[in-house]
């Protein structure tokens, strides 16, 4: 099992009212899966993603990654965990505006103190992989939305992660660009074998995955493709307990 949660909860205090963003969520993602998390706005999808990445601290519950408990990790250990195991693709692309496409892809490697030559080689390779080798020196504002998201995907792959967390990656794209990006994610999942956990409210985007978890008010209300083996990709799917 790549990632699993047990009884994951996250509550906020808003004007003296406790709001449950996540409520007793237990799920598991197997190696190489392409799982999607769907649900209406405010259902806790993004909170789930950020909590799995250690960017939010759960109120209760536990997270395991490849049988290693992530409970009690320090800030530096969480940072190293993200660097070594996770890639991120966000709805707003989250590119640094004053860095070129090439530099944005290099950024996680620079944070990880990878030598400059290796940074350059890896960024060239990844930009070529997402079809943007000709736009390497362009700033984000000089790229279309679809191209920016491709740069973000290349950056997510820079550290060769085992799991890519994608938060509404097609949310800011038109239908054609959405299909392109989803196709790219599917290809990466299929060819590179990396697991993808994608949050989306789009049924079409959700269809790109092999397993689906549906959240409402922070709770898992249904799962499709759970515990399935095989399918159109070699992914095993998401598992809900």
């Amino acid at each position: 099992m790549l990632l699993s949660t047990v009884g994951l909860s996250k509550t906020y205090r808003r004007r003296d009212v406790m709001v449950a963003a996540l409520d007793d969520v237990s799920l598991s993602v197997e190696e190489g899966a392409f799982a999607t998390v769907t649900g209406p706005s405010g259902s806790g999808k993004t909170t789930l993603l950020l909590t799995l990445a250690g960017l939010l601290w759960p109120t209760a519950g536990s997270i395991r990654f490849r049988d290693r408990s992530l409970e009690g990790l320090s800030d530096a250990q969480w940072a190293a965990f993200r660097r070594e195991n996770l890639g991120f693709v966000m709805q707003n692309f989250s590119l640094v505006p004053y860095l070129s496409a090439h530099e944005n892809v290099c950024l996680p490697l620079a944070v990880g103190r990878v030598p400059k030559g290796e940074q350059r080689r890896r960024a060239d390779e990844l930009l070529d992989r997402v079809g943007l080798s000709g736009r390497a020196e362009h700033l984000p504002r000089e790229l279309s939305a679809g191209q920016q998201q491709r740069v973000a995907i290349a950056r997510a792959l820079a550290g060769a992660p085992s799991l890519v967390l994608a938060d509404e990656p097609t949310g800011n794209l038109d239908p054609q660009l959405s299909r392109d990006v989803l196709g790219l994610l599917q290809a990466l999942n299929r060819e590179e074998g990396m697991a993808i956990l994608m949050v989306t409210h789009s049924p079409e985007a959700a269809g790109a995955g092999t397993a689906r978890v549906h959240l409402e008010a922070g709770r898992v209300v249904s799962a499709h493709g759970a515990a399935q083996v095989g399918g159109p990709t070699r992914a095993h799917g998401a598992h809900l307990r």
């Binding site: 709805q91 004053y98 860095l99 530099e103 950024l107």
Partner: protein, 401 residues
């Protein structure tokens, strides 16, 4: 790419906002560098001026007054010439010239005059105004060892001195006029006949009315024995500031040692004022520069919330975020320090001669100091904003569109 190049790219991206962050620190450093450069130039100028006046320390017999020395009272006390040796062998630093003198009232060709016995090798060197022998010639200055006065032509300084023999004399311009004596004439001093070898240019001092002859010849002529009325010393101004007078009093306890107090005091006051100004501005730069940089950095990190969230997301720890932000402070400090040095130096070097009457020169050693000081101020001022930014909630920042 690394932390510094990331900081540099961010600075270039937000050039406009950078100006406000740089201005305070650059101006602060410029003011400090300017004041220090002026202070150094001022010390040098005072030293030059003081040395150009000639002797600035007077050693008189105990009980004698400066008036006695100037009026050459016949009963004025004396002390042994051997005291000169004591001073020479005392090991005191900063003694540029030592000139023993015997002064008495005499009649020359029936006209009352003040006769002063000198050891010429020392005497002329201590009176720069005499060195070139022409009233309309600007006197070269002699400045302390280690200063930039090494260009003084030693041949001009020494040559006339060596020519003053035991039967020769020098006349001040005033007494020369009154006696009607010129170079080559013979002056009848008491029982001696002295050949006038030189008429000194007017100095506006009592020296203009004096006749100068060899000290030892005068002692023999007047039968005073190896006695002198005074020892004039040209002391390096900084050595005087450092307590040369009290050290001399220890060497010659039964004498009266006086300095040109006003000049020494002025020099010390000027230097002290400059030093206090430097320290004052240093404190102001630390406070204002630090606050200004802190304010700038706080605005900057708030502007960069999303970027900080992105860095956290891709695996930067809080410590790494702190490093990224402080790397920017270091870049700011180095740039501000170097700019401040250049601006401060250029301002005082160009304005010094016209506004202050000083030849201000750059202080190259202050370049590294300026960069180090500005960097320290920038880093100190940025510590709190950078620390707070490293603790921003990345999830909140990432969700901002």
């Amino acid at each position: 790419m690394n932390l510094v190049s990331l900081a540099w790219k961010e600075i270039r991206h937000r050039r406009a906002s950078l100006i406000s962050g740089l201005v305070a620190i650059t101006l602060g450093i410029a003011v400090i560098v300017g004041i220090r450069a002026v202070a150094v130039a001022s010390k040098h100028a005072v030293a030059v001026k003081m040395d150009s006046l000639g002797a600035n320390v007077l050693v008189l017999p105990q009980g004698a007054s400066i008036e006695d020395y100037h009026t050459a009272d016949i009963d004025a006390p004396t002390f042994p010439e051997e005291y000169v040796e004591r001073v020479v062998t005392s090991g005191l630093l900063g003694l540029e010239n030592i000139s023993p003198k015997l002064t008495r009232r005499v009649k020359i060709d029936g006209v009352p005059a003040v006769l002063t016995g000198i050891l010429p090798q020392s005497e002329v060197a201590s009176k720069p105004a005499w060195q070139l022998g022409g009233a309309d010639t600007e006197a070269p200055v002699h400045i302390c060892a280690g200063d930039s006065g090494a260009n003084v032509d030693e041949r001009l300084r020494r040559q006339p001195v060596e020519e003053l023999g035991q039967d020769e004399c020098l006349l001040g311009s005033g007494i020369s006029e009154r006696l009607g004596l010129r170079v080559g004439h013979v002056a009848h001093v008491e029982t001696a006949k002295l050949k006038v070898t030189r008429v000194l240019p007017a100095t506006g001092t009592v020296d203009d009315d004096r006749v100068f002859m060899h000290l030892h010849a005068m002692q023999q002529l007047l039968g005073t024995g190896s006695q002198v009325s005074a020892i004039e010393i040209m002391g390096c101004c900084t050595a005087i500031s450092d307590g040369m007078l009290s050290k001399l009093r220890n060497v010659l306890p039964d004498t009266r040692v006086t300095g040109i107090a006003q000049i020494v005091a002025t020099q010390m006051a000027t230097n002290g004022l400059m030093d206090r100004l430097s320290w004052g501005f240093l404190v102001i730069v630390l406070i204002v520069g630090g606050l200004s940089i802190g304010n700038f950095m706080w605005a900057n990190v708030n502007q960069r919330r999303r970027e900080i969230g992105i860095l956290r997301m891709i695996g930067a720890s809080r410590a790494r975020i702190l490093g990224v932000l402080l790397a920017k402070a270091v870049v700011l400090g180095v740039v501000g320090g170097v700019l401040g040095y250049v601006i401060g130096t250029a301002a005082v070097v160009s304005a010094g001669p016209s506004l202050l009457g000083l030849d201000v020169r750059p202080l190259p050693s202050y370049l590294a100091l300026s960069a180090a000081l500005a960097t320290s101020v920038a880093v100190l001022g940025s510590l709190l904003p950078a620390y707070l930014a490293s603790r921003f909630d990345p999830s909140a920042n990432l969700q901002e569109v």
